[in-house]
Symmetry: C2
Subunit: 329 residues, 2 copies
């Protein structure tokens, strides 16, 4: 193993000089710097992470607690994680993936000085982890938006604004009777934060625009077909569909497309999902992108800024944007 001492010797300088060249924390003459850098390169030196963290009391590692279970939104989770990992690396941080999603795992990582900060996904409203985080003495950021006291910085997508945007879009296309085809029943009744916020925005926007909107839970399997068929049969006047359900999306789009052809009606489907998921569903006119990777990146930026400047807790919601799938010319 190559150590800093080897580099120092090879460059003919002291150990501390090498250290200062690497960290840039003190002025080093151009000539010495070059000599040291050459030695580092030619020896292939990279500093021992443990030694570094012991001496500097910081690890350059961020702990990430992600919901790894296969769920409705694997794509979203995956993309958020990608965003976190990629952005972290840009800031010079690595990501330690925590095994379980309980408070203990957070404590273990923090108290063992394995990480400088913590990033927590999939937070529930009265999540016990929030209190743990507060008492940990490590900076942390939540990906999600719990209700109640906001003691910890949060980053999320602005689902409420997405509801408004969807209605505006469908109304602009001429639709006066809208339906939100949403999450599976269990997510709806659990009043999961993001589902609630989307419904709230959707209904408020419908009212503000003077159109009628209804909300329908929808399973994310093939059964979505039956659900949508039923919705259309019971409400034949619905012409604008806003779909937020990754698993159901292809079925819903296909069913509505078929129905539109049969009835000769102008039915619109507006999806809320990651951009590339939307693109993989044929016959989808346009969509509102969930910038999943952007959420991960934003959360990482926030925690890095806290780490660097010790800035204050804050909430950051990423705005929704329409992504018209380019139509054939």
């Amino acid at each position: 193993m190559v150590t800093i001492a080897d580099v120092a010797q090879a460059a003919g300088v002291s150990i501390s000089t090498v250290s200062y060249v690497m960290s840039g924390k003190r002025a080093i003459s151009q000539e010495t710097r070059t000599r040291v850098e050459k030695a580092i390169d030619s020896l292939g030196f990279s500093p021992h992470a443990g030694a570094r963290s012991l001496a500097s009391r910081s690890t350059n590692v961020i702990g990430l607690q992600a919901p790894l279970r296969t769920g409705v939104d694997v794509h979203v989770v995956m993309q958020i994680v990608t965003g976190v990992v990629t952005q972290a690396r840009k800031h010079g941080y690595d990501i330690l993936l925590l095994a379980s999603d309980d408070a203990k795992a957070l404590q273990r990582a923090a108290k063992g000085s394995m990480v400088d900060a913590l990033l927590v996904m999939d937070v529930e409203s009265d999540d016990p982890r929030i209190e743990t985080l507060s008492g940990l003495g490590h900076p942390s950021v939540l990906i999600g938006l719990p209700e109640g006291r906001r003691a910890i910085p949060c980053v999320d997508f602005d689902f409420e604004a997405a509801g408004w945007l969807a209605v505006d879009r469908l109304v602009a296309l001429g639709h006066r009777r809208l339906a939100l085809i949403g999450s599976p029943p269990e997510v709806m009744t659990r009043h999961t934060s993001y589902a609630d916020r989307l419904v709230r925005g959707f209904l408020a926007a419908c009212e503000a625009s003077g159109v009628t909107g209804s909300v329908h839970a929808c399973p994310s399997t093939t059964e979505a077909v039956a659900t949508v068929d039923a919705v259309m049969t019971e409400n034949p006047d619905i012409t604008g569909f806003f779909v937020h359900n990754e698993g159901a999306l292809p079925h819903v789009a296909a069913t509505i497309g078929r129905s539109a052809r049969q009835r000769g009606d102008d039915l619109a489907v507006l999806a809320l999902c990651p951009d590339d998921v939307a693109r993989s569903v044929p016959g989808l006119a346009d969509s509102i992108a969930v910038p999943a990777e952007g959420i991960g990146a934003a959360a990482t930026d926030m925690i890095c800024e806290i780490l660097a400047n010790g800035s204050q807790p804050a909430v950051r919601l990423l705005p929704p944007a329409l992504t018209g799938t380019p139509t054939a010319p």
Copy 2:
């Protein structure tokens, strides 16, 4: 921060005694052990990971290079990662998630002494990372089965055996004309290792059983419907379908189910996918489970064993198993 010295003082013993109590590397009297353990608990001590790795020259961290991009098999990737993380914890290891999927990332982690070993997913046949790994001096395990020289231990699902098993099952059900509805065309033509192995097993088994089998690439979007329709129209004698395409599965199952009802034929769909994915698709008779979490766990076990006993490189393929979805009584 509580250090080992604080614990030693509280327990009235020396620092080294505390260390030996924790590691169990030397005999400690029951009385002393109890006293030390009490002190550890009451002070809430957990050893500084960096200091530990500096002194012991091992980190208890395994680096994991996972393909985070959203792809065909997000569920599978997710479950493998879950398996790795969970199993690693059982062995006392944590997981460092590597940012990019190039060789540099592996080097960075290894040479910076951030990890004790490396786990690499999504390996191609002539992957440049394999050579990098060989020269790294860190144990490593591949999740996948590259062709050619096998210098590094590998763990994967036995796709070839799955092909055989599928044919046996469909033939046992009385089908004499089988079709493999496989990966998307791009995966097929790229001759991705797992797709090739599955086809090989499937065709060999068909021949051995004296039945006719054909292989069909299939997009993993709604377009799968058209593909399957075409296959059925061109080969009306096919009655046994073996589907290995996560995204297409619900469409394929629905299309074939519909057709079976229309034609009054006994058509069988046998899927190859994670168990829970199979369960979420309605109307699926039975399936062969891809034990994705098991693959992750097995790879982790292997690397931990190498770490512990320095055992030799090996290939381990997890056997396929039928998972009959329980039918209504």
